[in-house]
Amino acid sequence: MRVGLFVTCLVDLMRPGIGFAALRLLEAAGCEVVVPATQTCCGQPGYNSGDRQAARALALKTLKEFDGCDYLVAPSGSCAGMIRVHYPTLFMDDPTVLESFQRLSERTYELTDFLVNVARLENVPGSFSGSLTYHDSCAGLRELGVQAQPRALLAKMPGVRLSEMRESTTCCGFGGTFSVKFGDISAAMADKKCEHAAQAGTDVIVGGDLGCLLNIEGRLRRRGDEKTRVLHIAEVLAGDG
């Protein structure tokens, strides 16, 4: 299986370790992994801000870049959702191009979904030990049905004790540009997420989208919490934890 890793702009800039963890996991699952060098952004910022033209341009670029891959896998429900669910809606007026996007859509997966349902990863290389709680990122959950998959993978790690938090599926308040445009509402939502995580009695919060994780960690630190760690699921599964 030739898997194209869609690193995501946030991972590339802010936490490359997640990209390498994803790489390690995909290779552990027996995939040949390529990282198309010209990839940049999936186009979601423009798409959600009313700039369809920009979104279309980036969609076409991504389509071409991942043409030679059997699969496109991203360590992000948000970017995978953009490509899988929203790209086709940008080309409803062009049947030939639409067909290509539908085929891309069928080959596009969020990382944990791919590992569980396609690559069928049996042995998780990670050695994390301790308790943690899981935040379900919105796009992954509601657009792609990612919920059981990360938990199934964590269950394969004998040292992991998963303690579910209240309202794990409630939005953390990131929402891309929302976090900057409506900062106070966003911070209040992040606050609630931090509180629910604390009530779960662990000091490790795990999630599948770096945007959420930066938001949660940023709020924790401003609240004076230096202890709680915020990790990407790939980092936990691939041994970085």
Binding site: L13, R15, T40, C41, A54, R142, T170, F182, I185, E217
Partner: protein
């Protein structure tokens, strides 16, 4: 109702700092969210019913005029008079004329969000008419001179202490904060109003084309009293509320109470058809039905058409994490939360409610719980597209997005930017590896730090690992 949607940001911030409101909003989770979940769990074929409900509403909207004409025909045959109103002013005039025509001075009202769109109460009062809200929540708002903050639970923002203070001030009776006693007090104060009213005004949850009927769901009994005792009944409703048959309405009734309050059925469902019969001792002698457009028809044939399916259950706002944090008043008009973020710009003008469709993370919970499957985040995105097309976005935002997409299409330049940005952010983060301030992103840093990156991009690290 006065539009203050342009002050959304300021009002949202105030709401976040309002401790009393925050406490009141906590109830949304247990009462409405958990309530709905339990109620729909009782329907083993919930998903099928939901699919059917969405179909029923979509088909009715697709042939709206045909069903409205049938409704008008049937209602008229049963003795009702059907009026058509283009906007709120029309409604107000029609209702005032009906009151004048029948010599009605004392009016009791059962809840109607449409009447809020029109500012009906103020208009009628300016004409010297006596209007008494009878839905307990609406009555409390009338006493407090406040607008509703939720379409189903209008005073969700008030504590019982605040309501008790209001009652003491207006009723001049002994103070009580016992909820049962407060309800008894409201009953006793309002009962004479029902008995002496000339005219009752209500909304309509649905209107049925098959029979020309108006259907009202209530729990308190005020809807029944207001539409049974007075000699004139006026029902005001949006044109989109028409449903073809009684069977259709039965399917919708399985979902409306469950989605709204977690009830399997509301205490009263009244199906009202025509005027008092020859030998009947109750019921209105005159029944007027006012059908309001006010911008609804402008959604037909557009990508926003699905919004017309809305059955006003309130589930979207109950489950919206933004609404849960700021309540309804910040949205600045009759309809708050996700449905309000689509309807308010539609009814009062895109340019008067710019923030509403933007104040969403697109988490998708609203669409997940909508009983008629309205794709609310998609509709809000459509409105964002419209704002961009009409040049209504701030120039800084347009420039930033243009710049981002321009760079993202040029991998060489993008790689350079990312390399520089990673290094700069890492350096600015210092030893503690975090930033307290980011130029241009104070919305983030006012309430949060930003964890600093390590300093090199994945792209660069991958390339160097590959070559080594």
């Amino acid at each position: 109702m006065q539009v203050s949607a342009m002050h959304f940001k300021r009002k949202a911030t105030e709401s976040l700092r309002n401790a009393k409101l925050q406490k009141a909003l906590e109830k949304l989770q247990s009462k409405f969210v958990d309530g709905r979940a339990a109620a729909i769990a009782e329907l083993p074929n919930f998903n099928d019913i939901r699919d059917a409900a969405a179909e029923i509403r979509a088909r009715a909207i697709e042939n709206l005029d045909q069903y409205l004409l049938r409704f008008e025909e049937e209602a008229t045959a049963r003795g009702a008079t059907v009026h058509w109103a283009e906007n709120g002013d029309d409604v107000n005039r029609v209702v005032a004329d009906i009151a004048a025509q029948h010599g009605a001075r004392r009016i009791v009202k059962s809840k109607s969000m449409v009447s809020e769109e029109c500012g009906l109460n103020d208009f009628l009062e300016s004409r010297g008419l006596d209007v008494l809200e009878t839905d307990l929540g609406e009555y409390i708002l009338q006493l407090a001179h406040e607008p509703p903050s939720h379409i189903v639970a209008p005073v969700v923002h008030k504590s019982k202490e605040e309501i008790s203070d209001l009652f003491v001030e207006k009723h001049r009776r002994a103070r009580t904060t016992q909820i049962t006693e407060m309800c008894r007090e409201a009953r006793e104060v309002l009962r004479p109003g029902f008995l002496s009213a000339d005219m009752g005004i209500s909304g309509a949850n649905f209107i049925v084309a098959e029979t020309g009927s108006v259907l009202i769901v209530t729990n308190e009994g005020n809807g029944r009293l207001a539409t049974t005792l007075p000699r004139v009944h006026v029902a005001i409703t949006g044109i989109e509320k028409v449903v073809p048959t009684l069977e259709d309405v039965s399917t919708l009734l399985r979902l409306l109470p469950r989605s709204a309050t977690g009830q399997s059925i509301t205490n009263y469902v009244s199906v009202l058809t025509g005027t008092r019969g020859k030998d009947e001792s109750d019921g209105p002698e005159h029944f007027h039905i006012v059908l309001l457009d006010n911008g609804r028809s402008s959604l037909l044939g557009t990508e926003l058409q699905p919004m017309l399916r809305c059955i006003r259950c309130g589930a979207c706002m109950n489950h919206c994490p933004v609404y849960q944090n700021i309540g309804g008043h910040a949205y600045g008009w009759v309809y708050p939360g996700p449905m309000g973020s689509v309807l308010t710009p539609t009814f009062v003008g895109l340019e008067n409610a710019l923030d509403l469709p933007n104040a969403s993370t697109f988490c998708g919970e609203c669409a997940a719980v909508c009983p008629v499957k309205i794709p609310l985040p998609d509709l809000m995105r459509q409105l964002r597209n419209k704002q961009t097309e009409r040049g209504l976005r701030p120039w800084q935002e347009r420039v930033a997005l243009r710049l981002w997409s321009w760079m993202a299409q040029r991998p060489g330049i993008y790689a350079l930017y990312a390399r520089l940005a990673a290094r700069a952010l890492s350096w600015a983060g210092g030893r503690k590896k975090r930033l307290h301030r980011i130029p241009g992103a104070s919305g983030w840093t006012k309430g949060r730090d930003m964890p600093a990156p390590a300093g090199r991009t994945f792209r660069d690290l991958y390339r160097s690992r590959r070559s080594s």
